[in-house]
């Protein structure tokens, strides 16, 4: 079973600060980590490999420092790592990112399964996983909470719903995104950390992937971020107390006042 895991390096804090001039994240002084949801993707891939053999290739698109995330993934049991990095890819939205990642996956070639975390903790879009499957034209199952069965060309999974879950069968190769209910990620091992330290990380840019110039970077991104802001805090509501008949009258007056 050859598995590709797509991960993203994100800032550790949940209170991300934004540069009001450029509308981009302020990354200085904030520790970078692997997107927490991607840790479940890595764990699931490594577990499948340990059970069925094969290898796990981990990829990420990002600036050169995203290499640290890939090395951590190797310390957790991934076999190979590829960093997709090029100035030409800068400014990619989820569409251009998934296009670029799908290009890298085509270059990797043979695979049975792609696993992504359900969404990234910084952007929260949950779009890149499904985007990759669209670009590759393979089936996708999002919010997977359990892999019930996996063998050559077939997989049955449980897909998390708001209440309960769906059981979905799909041929392979396919792409899944996973939720935190799927497993408990392991800690790295010392041997894994040592392996990660010396592991060779391939770096692929536009030259290696040779993608359509129209599809990548800012140019390939239909989404334009116009403004990022923190929504104003909601002010507490007003509670009317007293006799029902009086309260109703008061409420109607208040509502009328709001409208006019």
């Amino acid at each position: 079973m050859n598995i590709i895991v797509c991960i993203k390096q994100v800032p550790e804090t949940t209170e991300v600060k934004i540069n009001p001039q450029t509308n981009t994240l302020i990354r200085e002084g904030v520790k970078s980590i692997i997107n927490p949801f991607d840790m479940y993707a890595i764990e699931e891939a490594v577990r499948i490999k340990e059970r069925l053999g094969g290898k796990v290739v981990v990829i990420t698109m990002g600036p050169p420092q995203a290499e640290a995330a890939l090395r951590e993934a190797i310390s957790l049991g991934c076999d190979e790592a590829i960093l997709i990095s090029d100035r030409a890819f800068a400014g990619s939205d989820t569409w251009a990112t998934s296009y670029t990642l799908s290009g890298a996956i085509k270059k990797i070639g043979q695979f049975d399964l792609i696993i992504c975390g359900k969404q990234a903790s910084d952007g929260d879009t949950a779009q890149v996983g499904p985007g990759i499957s669209a670009h590759l034209d393979i089936p996708q199952v999002t919010y997977v909470k359990k892999i019930e069965e996996i063998k050559d060309n077939f997989m049955r999974v449980e897909r998390m719903m708001e209440e309960g879950y769906e059981i979905i069968e799909t041929p392979l190769p396919c792409l899944i995104t996973v939720v935190k209910e799927i497993n408990e990620p392991r800690l790295p091992s010392l041997k894994g950390m040592m392996k990660a330290k010396s592991a060779k990380i391939s770096i692929w840019g536009q030259k290696e992937l040779n993608l359509s110039e129209q599809g990548i970077g800012l140019c390939g991104s239909p989404t334009q971020v116009v403004k990022i802001f923190t929504p104003p805090q909601r002010v507490g509501g007003q509670i009317l107390q007293g006799e029902v008949s009086e309260v109703v009258k008061k409420l109607v007056d208040l509502l009328k006042g709001e409208i006019s």
């Binding site: 800690l187 790295p188 010392l190 041997k191 040592m194 330290k197």
Partner: protein, 383 residues
Amino acid sequence: MDYLLSDEQKMVQELAHKIAEEKVRPVAAKYDQSEEYPWEIIKVIADAGLFGLFIPPEYGGMSVGVLNLCIATEELSRACGGIAVCYAASALGTFPIVLFGNEEQKKKYLPDLAAGKKVAAFAITEPEAGSDASAIKTTAKKEGNYYVLNGLKHFITNGGDAEIYVVIAMTDKSKGARGASAFILEKGMPGFIFGKKEEKFGIRASSTRELVFTDCKVPAENLLSKEGMGFIVTMKTFDMSRPGVAAQAVGIAQGALELAVKYAKERQQFGKSISTFQGIQWMLADMATQVEAARALVYATARMVDAGIKDVSKESAMTKMFASDVAMKVTVDALQIFGGYGYMRDYPIEKYVRDAKITQIYEGTNQVQRNIIALQLIKEMAR
């Protein structure tokens, strides 16, 4: 303070820190209360590969040395001194095999110990042979291809939970200390059972039990080194393991210091945080300085051991004595900073005081450590 650790040592530190914070700290109070053996954590430490730090690679370990072991023990102890000692005591039981085992013994026992599949223990103490180890009464009599062991060991850390035991017994009582020998025993050997489990003041996650030998037949090939080498095995083992006890003490002290600083910043009295009071500040400054001095001593001694310097008895003793005295003082002061709340079980700090106390007692009381240091000093002067 920067100890100029190697990349490898930093990795061990980072990994042990992660285990301590994510896995150990959340369950520390639970095991302190239940006195159960923390198998779930042992498995995490085993999976991380930390049991094999000082075991040669040909037997499944990493052979990265005593300083690494100390760093791991220190980090784990920051979160729970009791859980950390389960780990460190296995190292204590493994050292004699690493140091004195023959090829067959190493091949047979070390891989499982390095992988953390089995836990080890070291057994010398008896009810009437504590600091005076020459008073050991357990006997080992050679009969054909076996040694037959009779006697009782007590206060054995990891007792009952460990699979592998290194046991010191007298093969020739007439020779006194030179008549002691070391044997490798396995749990389940006929005639080897466990007695009373102790209820302890601190390090309650670790198990402390009696080992009882009644005509216990141990194969002759399980003799470590030669007959009469029991005390040499013990002393050399303690030279290696004492920095580990000191590291445990430093970890407990560091953990208590961190909690005290955090609490001092949060706790408001007289309209401000108590960390703004000089009385508190000076306590914290003294605590931090003492912890740093103890750590520096631990790392320096561990580096001597790793460099292959043969006689480290004095330095080892100094380290264990100093660090454990610091741990006791710092934890008591940390509790003082917590005031009344610190005395309550709802707060984690009182556990640090209880866990610290044992480090002044085991692997040689601090009084015995002073004997070792003084003896060595006088010897050096006579040269």
